[in-house]
């Protein structure tokens, strides 16, 4: 069975479950129509403006077709076969660790994850309350004192409707693309962050500390607003592989930075890539965009992508404010049957805007990956600068890496640079390391970590250490 047909099979099986489910009160039957959108909004007790927003998005979505331009291969998705609202913990989930893919459990053990957490990550209902509950409470108090709002987006809809009305969809409009429209219509939950003027957020914000964030569902929505002169660093994801019954994930992330504000957004994405044959892997189709609205604002994306069966995402920056700065640092690993089409867009609109792109792609096994990047310098963006460094590392003979850079320059004073390399871990390098006493796996992990160093440097300290470990584990057995 191929990856895609295996995933297809899972979609179909979910369809069956939808009809026989006994917990109808917290799961909607598969299918999507206006009634479903209304039902989602009603279940969340949303105000009128949110329902209107969802309906506008849904109507627009109906006029669109799924994009096929990415260099990834999978059978067409039947959007009517998916359930668009499900309770956080479905009773159809695994009951104990015995039902979980042993390879996944082995990874947990290697990452040193405690057993309760292993269960939670694999989607097993856990009664024990984590220590992090109290940790989270402490953090909330500290954040509130600084005036930072950090909560679930569904809470924000109720508690801060003016901010939601003003900013939701202002960076990624519901008309932006097929999956963004779908997300706007049916988004389940997500994160909301608001940092007031001049405030430096006192800690790294992480969904890990937000209870309920563990199961935000397949259509996550994140909105971060940094007012003038503020700073915030946000960490998304987790190094532990997340198992999820939802196979299609279409998240939308919007960042807004006002004058002199800075947002640093770091992601470690390690969703279940499927078993050895690629079965059960997640499709991750994400729209992430940052808007440098103010002068001298800065948005920096750092991502380490090792999971999912298919990844399709381009965290981008709209550099509107004069002297604003956009950065994109990425490590993407595809192994086994994984496919990734990822990169960034840097849209230079303001004067003297600058952007940096560092993309490191690693392909092993039968992994396929594409870097797709757009650098656009508009007519008015005098003095804009971009530097792009795009490197691919191949491990083995059956993987592939592609680079598709788009560069559009409409201002003669702009400078753009694009550097790209493709290299392979050579037998000579492996033998050299082994002759010094290192195993082939240690050697690969050392060379790969060396290759990714520039990106890891951008991650917050503990995250960087974890990411490094994660990468080594991901590539175990890549050389044989």
């Amino acid at each position: 069975m191929t990856v895609s047909s295996a995933v297809e099979a899972i979609v179909t099986s979910e369809y069956e479950h939808g009809f026989v489910t006994e917990i109808a009160s917290d799961t909607l039957p598969p299918g999507l129509d206006e009634g479903v959108v209304r039902a989602i909004s009603a279940r969340k007790g949303e105000p009128e403006f949110m329902l209107d927003y969802r309906l506008r998005a849904f109507r627009h979505w109906q006029t669109m077709t799924a994009p096929r331009w990415a260099q990834v291969h999978y059978p067409p998705i039947d959007f009517q076969a998916i359930s668009y609202f499900s309770a956080p913990k479905s009773k159809d989930g695994p009951k104990s660790l015995d039902e979980i893919d042993p390879a996944l459990l082995e990874t947990y053990t290697k990452l040193g994850i405690p057993i309760e957490e292993q269960m939670a990550l694999s989607g097993i209902a856990v009664d024990a309350v984590f220590d992090s509950v109290s940790v989270a409470t402490t953090f909330r108090t500290q954040l509130a004192a600084a005036g930072v709002i950090f909560c679930a987006i569904s809470e924000a809809v109720h508690d801060h409707p003016d901010l939601i009305k003003q900013y939701l969809g202002s960076v990624v409009p519901h008309t932006d693309n097929f999956y963004a429209a779908l997300n706007a219509a049916v988004f389940s939950d997500g994160t909301f962050v608001y940092v007031p003027k001049g405030v430096r957020c006192p800690m790294e914000l992480s969904t890990y500390f937000r209870i309920n964030a563990r199961n935000t569902g397949q259509f996550e929505r994140t909105l971060i607003i940094a007012e003038a002169g503020s700073y915030v660093s946000y960490l998304e994801g987790c190094t532990a592989p997340m198992r999820d019954e939802n196979q299609l994930h279409a998240a939308v992330v919007e960042l807004i930075a006002m004058d002199d504000a800075e947002i640093k957004y770091s992601t470690v994405q390690n969703w279940y890539p499927g078993d050895a044959k690629g079965r059960g892997g997640i499709y991750n189709f994400v729209t992430k965009r940052g808007d440098c609205r103010g002068a001298r604002s800065k948005i920096s994306w750092t991502q380490v992508e090792t999971g999912s069966a298919i990844t399709w995402k381009y965290p981008s920056c709209l550099l509107r404010g004069d002297d604003s700065v956009g950065e994109f640092y990425s490590v993407a690993v595809t192994k086994g049957r994984q496919q990734a089409d990822t990169g960034t867009k840097m849209i230079h609109l303001g004067r003297n805007t600058s952007s940096t792109i560092v993309s490191k792609g690693i392909a092993a096994g039968e992994g396929e990956q594409t870097y797709r990047g757009l650098v656009r310098i508009a007519t008015k963006a005098a003095g804009a600068r971009n530097h792009t460094q795009c490197d691919s590392l191949l491990i083995g003979a059956r993987c592939a890496a592609h680079t598709v850079p788009y560069i559009e320059v409409k201002n003669p004073t702009a400078q753009t640079e694009h550097e790209a390399t493709t290299s392979k871990i050579s037998d000579d390098q492996l033998f050299y390391c082994r002759s010094r006493g290192l195993t082939a796996e240690d050697a690969v992990s050392m060379i790969v970590n060396g290759f990714c160093k520039e990106v890891f440097k951008q991650l917050p300290m503990e995250f960087a250490v974890e990411a490094q470990k994660l990468l080594s584990i991901s590539l175990e057995g890549a050389v044989g």
Binding site: S426, Q429, Y432, R434, S435, R436, L438, G450
Partner: protein, 250 residues
């Protein structure tokens, strides 16, 4: 400590080593000389376990163990070290980090505790001093962008850190000017001790002006065709390989 008996090895279909015998005792320095294409580098690679060579006959024992049955890293754990003719570049991998990982991998395999950063740095400083090297190479990626001389010095430094029982120096003298050659030779001499054996694989006797071997062997057509003391090397220098009825390969 190393005993090679009747060793035959092929690269692809071509037999390169054709029944080679070699005995190396503890603390001895052996020079293996021979014209290009005689099988010198093949011998070094077969001993260190590189892929691409097929051993068809013969045996190699190292400290009583069947060396040919071991993976390259296991040979390193036992105390074998190969200084490469062409040291390989590892972009992005810090030299110090690499050495620490290698040393600790070897220590772990031997059941010794790993060295922490402080102990490692101390050892590194001490070895740099013994070799009269400065620490400029240590902060750079392994061999990346190194000059030929720097690469060879780095190999000798690795040898000093990993403390092998048997070091094989594969044409370490090739491509070095006299100053670099002297630095490398001084390093090898400084690391000489009664517990450490060395095989110097070389085309020219030049290196032997700086490192005194106990034995000299001439390798030709895949076999050791003559063995002797230091004087053999001098004789070769004077008379050329033709003297032993060997034609230099082009």
């Amino acid at each position: 400590m190393l005993s090679v008996k009747g060793l035959r090895a092929k690269v692809g279909e071509k037999e390169i080593l054709k029944g080679l015998d070699l005995e190396i005792g503890r603390g001895e320095i052996h020079a293996i000389m021979g014209p290009n294409g005689s099988g010198k580098s093949t011998l070094a690679h077969v001993l260190s376990g590189r892929d691409g060579y097929t051993v068809t006959a013969g045996s190699v024992t190292f400290d009583g163990q069947d060396l040919l049955a071991l993976a390259p890293e296991e040979r390193a754990h036992l105390g074998l070290f190969l200084a490469f003719q062409y040291p390989v570049e590892l972009p992005g991998v810090n030299n110090t980090y690499f050495l620490k990982a290698a040393l600790n991998a070897i220590r772990a395999a031997r059941g010794q505790p790993e060295l922490d950063a402080v102990a490692f740095m101390r050892l590194m400083k001490e070895r740099l001093k013994v070799l009269h090297l400065d620490d400029s190479l240590l902060k750079r990626p392994v061999n990346f962008g190194f000059s030929g001389g720097e690469k060879k010095r780095n190999e000798i430094f690795q040898m000093a850190m990993l403390e092998p029982k048997l070091a094989i120096l594969d044409e370490t003298d090739s491509g070095l000017d006299i100053d670099a050659l002297r630095i490398v030779a001084d390093g090898v001499n400084a690391l000489r001790n009664p517990e450490r054996s060395v095989i110097l694989v070389t085309h020219y006797q030049r290196l032997l002006d700086y490192i005194q071997p106990d034995y000299v062997h001439v390798l030709a057509r895949g076999q050791i065709i003559r063995s002797g003391g230091k004087s053999l090397a001098l004789e070769l220098e004077e008379k050329g390989y033709g003297w032993l009825g060997i034609e230099e390969a082009a």
